[in-house]
Amino acid sequence: MDINKFKEIFENTTTIGEKIYIENNLAETVKFVKENYHFDILKEIIAVDNQENGIELIYRLYSAENEEEALLATIVRDEVESVCNIFDSAYADEKEIYDLFGVRFVGNQELKRLYMPEDWKGHPLRKDYMENDERLNWND
């Protein structure tokens, strides 16, 4: 999405809790919002597996100065730009999402298993986690 077009949508959004969908240039947009509107905390990144509609990532940004919250969302398949150069807290969130959903964040050097053991197969919070899993056939 073009930054100017985004700016127009962003400034016209007044409903609290309304998500703004970003199709591309995610990192650039997040940086733009951080620098121009004082959104200085990335509270969390929420990932939701919507099955055939891809994985939705919701970025919850907060401005301590203006006491406002903004929700940016994007739909990904399995790869997306990392925002860890803009917010250091994203290291933690992206690591968790990689472990539980298998989304690869391009630019994050620290992607590895967080909760699961290193040799674990699959990503537990995906909806298709246990389909076609060899462990299901262990009793046969």
Binding site: D40, K43, E44, I46, A64, S89, Y115, P124, L125
Partner: protein, 361 residues
């Protein structure tokens, strides 16, 4: 000089759970720190997708066993918002009172544990003596000392009683806090190990997603209680100090206990003014949230905690996500410990009030 890789934890008494820090040292100077978490992972978010809401409710206290009420409140709040259940004034006041008592007990434990990290054993016993009064009261009203499962969708499980116990406790607590301060705050050894150590710049704190007392000790006055509808009608002011070091993070928690006492005193007045409990219960076996997304947020003792639920109109949530303050504090160690000496590592990590079950979820 050759660098040394040092493995701190996971079974270290000062890591407040099972946290493993992989440190790289040059002499005694830390050049790199990598936290390794996940030893306590219980799959809280995965479990939610299989259980109904009322089955999941007793589990959420275990996310942070030192502040279980806060997580119950988060889940209840989401469901009350989705089903538009109104809370009666007495229920609201009871919830505020218990939340703040829980905050006091959590901060007291931290004071004891932090001083223990620094090698002072006696404050631990003093803090636990006062904390015991609160836990005994929790046990009396809910049957459990720590994981209370007391808040239910639409109200609280049963009415509270013996409120004079709390009033008596609130009268003596400020004197006890003064006692702590007289042996801790200006203690020369304590000051040498905390003043000017682990300095957290507000810009870095915001960038790392730090919230709660740690952020307010860096001079940013962000407290979600100010905008919280549960705390409407209570007069209190968030404590903000600007010295940014470990000592400030200790002092701010002492002051927060004083502020919590103020809030509880007001809550008790409201409880007495509203004698009728009026729980607004619904049949818990048939709870189905309308399709949509729900967020709730609260100021927990370790920073802003929040709960996100996406419902697809079934008995269990489609996706449930927790935000916990400690998770980001652990991530901050990668930055905060670099450039410090090894013997300060425990003191700095301890000052951030990290609780590992909250990190691992």
């Amino acid at each position: 000089m050759t660098s040394l890789k040092l493995n701190l934890g996971p079974q270290h008494p000062s890591t407040h759970g099972v946290l493993r820090l992989i440190l790289e040292l040059e002499g005694e100077l830390i050049t790199r720190c990598e936290p390794d978490v996940g030893y306590l992972h219980r799959g809280m978010e995965k479990m939610a997708e299989k259980l109904s809401y009322i089955q999941y409710l007793p589990l959420v206290d275990r996310i942070d066993y030192l502040a279980g009420f806060f997580y119950s409140e988060l889940l209840c709040r989401n469901i009350e918002k989705a089903l538009s259940l109104e809370l009666s004034p007495r229920v609201k006041a009871i919830r505020v009172m218990l939340l703040e008592l829980n905050r006091i007990s959590s901060h007291l434990l931290w004071i004891g544990a932090f001083l223990m990290d620094l090698g002072a054993v006696s404050p631990f016993f003093y803090a636990f003596r006062e904390r015991e009064v609160i836990l005994k009261y929790f046990e009396k009203i809910s049957g459990q000392r720590m994981m209370n499962n007391y808040f239910v969708f639409g109200g609280v499980r049963n009415d509270i009683f013996d409120i004079e116990e709390i009033e008596r406790f609130l009268e003596i607590l400020p004197h006890k806090l003064d006692d702590y301060e007289s042996i801790i705050t200006d203690n020369l050894i304590f000051k040498k190990r905390t003043v000017g150590k682990g300095v957290l710049d507000p810009k870095i704190a915001l960038n790392f997603g730090i919230t709660g007392p740690n952020l307010r000790a860096s001079g940013v006055g962000y407290d979600t209680r100010k905008k919280d509808s549960l705390y409407e009608g209570f007069s209190f002011s968030p404590i903000v100090l600007g010295n940014q070091d470990s000592w400030t993070r200790y002092k701010i928690r002492i002051l927060e206990i004083h502020e919590s006492i103020r809030i509880i005193t007001q809550a008790i007045e409201k409880i007495k003014a509203n004698p009728e409990l009026n729980n607004n219960f619904i049949n818990p076996l048939n709870i189905v949230l309308p399709e949509g997304e729900y967020y709730s947020e609260i100021e927990a003792p370790r920073g802003v905690a929040s709960c996100y639920i996406k419902s697809d109109g079934k008995k269990s949530p489609y996706r449930l996500k927790w935000r916990t303050g400690s998770y980001y504090a652990v991530n901050l160690l990668r930055k905060l410990l670099v450039g410090e000496y090894l013997n300060d590592a425990i003191a700095i990590a301890g000052s951030l009030d990290i609780i590992l079950p909250e990190v691992d979820k």
